[in-house]
Symmetry: C2
Subunit: 160 residues, 2 copies
DNA sequence: GAGAAGTAGTTCAAATCTGAACGACCGACG
DNA sequence: CGTCGGTCGTTCAGATTTGAACTACTTCTC
């Protein structure tokens, strides 16, 4: 009498585990970032992407794409970060519509301050809890999952 | 010149993949639930937990724990669901502090309506993208990760 | 059984997030 | 040139979330 399309135990187990892990990990990360540097996770991700970028700056659109956040949300985040002096907005020469979001020295410092703790959280609660084989599997599997979702953000459905 | 505690490529790959998959999957689920039944993901999870519970009801605290959501957030969610007639609040006999959140028939119907689509999203974007072996690995690995985080929500650090 | 300590749920203000609408600009094409 | 479709980033109102009180009740302790 169970519904026909319900997930099977194996599948359900994996799905539940994924949800729980994502929830709890997110919570733990949020806690650490707040504690060590008074940053939210989205703010942290913004700083990380900027730190990795050429000249420590990115256009708002590109930044939004990389952090996987809506435009309006990024506008808000960057405004907050700018208020705290961690990021600076700059006009973008060629394209007068665009805006650079640029990491300031203070921003780089903030990153330096929280990053060790962040890595510790990721290590202790994910990386080190997995065997190397599991880690490998997880990497390839999720790359595939992400790729699929990335190419299919919204589409009328095409049989492939 | 890379920092000493940075994640290694393998580790980073797994971590990035996890983050991306979580982000994108969440986004896709949100979209489907909104489209098919005008529900948010948290609302959906509340309904699911209630549907699974004995007598289709749970005390607010237990519900909050199961959905992994703060008390105040649950209060808000349940208020919304109650406004839409999907959930009903009832006094809890023995313990006069407690409140039952109970799934209504309308709530059960709403669940019936969105669930197939929800399962489709989970299948198409996660389950079916993985090999059975990967699924298995993912299940055991995340169960371990979740268990660890669950037992260690905040603690002064004890060497184990 | 009185009081201390803990638990259940809510409330409130402030912070954050969403999504549609907007103004400004770019690029192509006639 | 002009102007049309698309992009860039912001704005705004409304929805949701957070976290610290707060009230009411229960349980433990002596």
């Amino acid at each position: 009498m169970t519904e026909p399309d319900a997930l099977e135990p194996r599948e359900l187990h994996a799905w539940i585990g994924f949800l729980a892990a994502a929830h709890l990990l997110e919570h733990e990360i949020e806690r650490q970032l707040k504690r060590d540097g008074d940053l939210s996770h989205p703010e942290f991700e913004v700083l990380v992407k900027l730190a990795m970028a050429e000249d420590r700056r990115l256009r708002m659109s590109d930044l939004a794409r990389q952090v996987m956040v809506s435009k309006s949300r990024l506008t808000y985040q960057v405004t907050q970060l700018e208020r705290d002096g961690l990021v600076r907005r700059t006009a973008c020469g060629n394209d007068r519509r665009a805006v650079w979001a640029e990491l300031t020295d203070a921003g780089a410092d903030a990153l330096t301050k929280v990053r060790p703790g962040h890595r510790k959280v990721v290590r202790e609660n994910l990386i080190d809890v997995l065997t190397p084989a599991e880690l490998e599997t997880l990497g390839t599997a999720f790359a595939r999952v992400a790729a699929r979702l990335h190419n299919r953000p919204a589409r009328p459905a095409a049989s492939d």
